[in-house]
Amino acid sequence: MTAEVLVSARSLGKAYPQVFRPRDRLSALWRLLRGVPDSNATVVLHDVDLEVRRGESLGLIGENGAGKSTLLKLLTGVLTPTTGAVSISGRVGALLELGAGFHPEYSGRDNIAMSAALYGLTAREMRERLAEIIEFADIGHYIDEPVKHYSSGMVVRLGFAVVAALRPDVLITDEVLAVGDESFQKKCVRWMEEYLDGGGTLILVSHSMYHVQKLCRHACWLRHGEVTAYGDVFEVTQKYLAYHEAKLAAPSPRAESAAHGAEFQLLELRLNGQEEDTPLLLESEGTLRVDVGVHSRDGRVPVVVIGIARIDGTPVYGVSTEMDGVQPEAEDANTFRVEVEFPQLCLLPGSYVVKAHPLDSEGVRLFDTIERQLTIRGNSREFGLVRLSHSWKRVATPAGARLRGVSGV
């Protein structure tokens, strides 16, 4: 089932001219009039390829300044690309800023008319949908007051109502869900879900992974103006979140010198038999086996602690041999080994660190640390760190339940 391509971008790039002095503007003007390309420009977007088919939904994610808004502006035609081309077919509803084009002196009603004209609605369509717009905006008598008296939330309501009435083939929107009160946000999300169910096509920029995962099937992660990951929404958002977690976590290299010659020293830490320093990939609900080897200088039996933390350092779980009343097995006079298994590991998808420490026989002093990264994959949309076992009571099947919501479980 391949639907028609509504939005496509080929090797799209954007570079902004460097303009500091008034003289630069003059030389830029002269250069542009002659049609000479700018050699000295700041590249903000480089070689982006996108394709969105009818009925698809794409989330654009990335840090501030990654080029998301620039890409959006290129897609909507507000900006002209420096390289490459964009082609869009169908009616585009671009919602780069709610209330763009509203005039503060005019009433809401007047602004609806103007806004609708800007989006390309004919006067007849406008009249037919006016009641619908006013009802969706739901701002009461304010509709006949000048927009300058509106709260920012009301401007947002009115702006979204116009776009909702537009019934666009492609909806391109930037962080709209972040504004407006709770009930209006819900209304927007519900509208978008209905829009998507009705075969609508969506390109959404959001910093909320929750919204991106809820509304989009594909995601594109932009970093420094380039596509870092593009594909299934869960894979991309998890990579993105893992990247952020890793960025937040303070690097803690193993203090070799301190451990050297100490009473207890870690020899190795294996996750599912893998000793390399690359992160272990594990499916959610998979089994994790941790092997630890400890060198004991004086031949005393160590206590071994195994801990799991999220990659930003938030502890998830920790346990020691002493707590469970077991001892590592002696391999020879100075070497001890222990192995622990976590069947059906209930960690939620994301990146984690597995840590091991040897403690002295009394379980008091901590000697050494080795960390290994662990990445859990899966399509879960649950929040938090772990899946707590649960069962729903008193439930009914909601009308028009979304298939996607079920498939994750």
Partner: protein, 256 residues
Amino acid sequence: MSALALTSHFVRREIRNRYLGSFSGGLWALIQPLIQLAVYGFVWKYVFRMSAPGGADGPGIVAFLAMGVWPWNAFSESLVRATTAMQDNAALIGKIALPREILVLSSVASSFLLHALGFCVIVIVFRASGTPIQLLGLPLAAFAFVQLFVLALGLALLFSAIQVFVRDLGQTLTQLMPLWMFAGPVLYPRDYLPERFRAWLDLNPFTFYPEYLREALLGYGTTGTPWLVATIVALAVLAIGYTVFRRLSAHFEDFL
């Protein structure tokens, strides 16, 4: 089709914006040139004590001046306003993809709409008060306004595009407009100039319009610039303005 609807929206909005909150509303568009006319007429008659063009057989000083003041106001106001159209609408341009020519077009169109309306009113007043207005000249005058609109639109497109890059243009233009007016036969007939300067007026693309209107409506004087030349100049200016605008408009966002 939708571009046309959008333009009419912008024109309506522009006209409303101008008179929003003023007591007289759109009447101001008529009152302001009337005051201008009164001042110029007074200065002519009582300060400079110059004889009316054409003498006793001429159309009278007020009618003579009116044929220059209204087209000039439409022309100069539309240029000054439209030159900053991109800057004034920067917020809109950055958020909504729309053909940017529309912003210039609606700015020029609204100025012309108001002043053409004022001109119609004043012509009716003249006719009613006994000034001989040649009815056959009316369609010619209407077409001259269309030509003037084409000329103004071409220049406005050119200026508004350059203004994005060179911000001094708008300021300079405001200062230059009076100079431009006196460089054309707006407030005086061509034959008041010394012989050797008369031909210079033809270098001013605006010269054609007051002379043509006076000839067509008042039967006064002759038009120096041939009609065909004026038309070609207007169309050529529009073509140049549009070309430059199209070439530069892709980069407006980077410089606004």
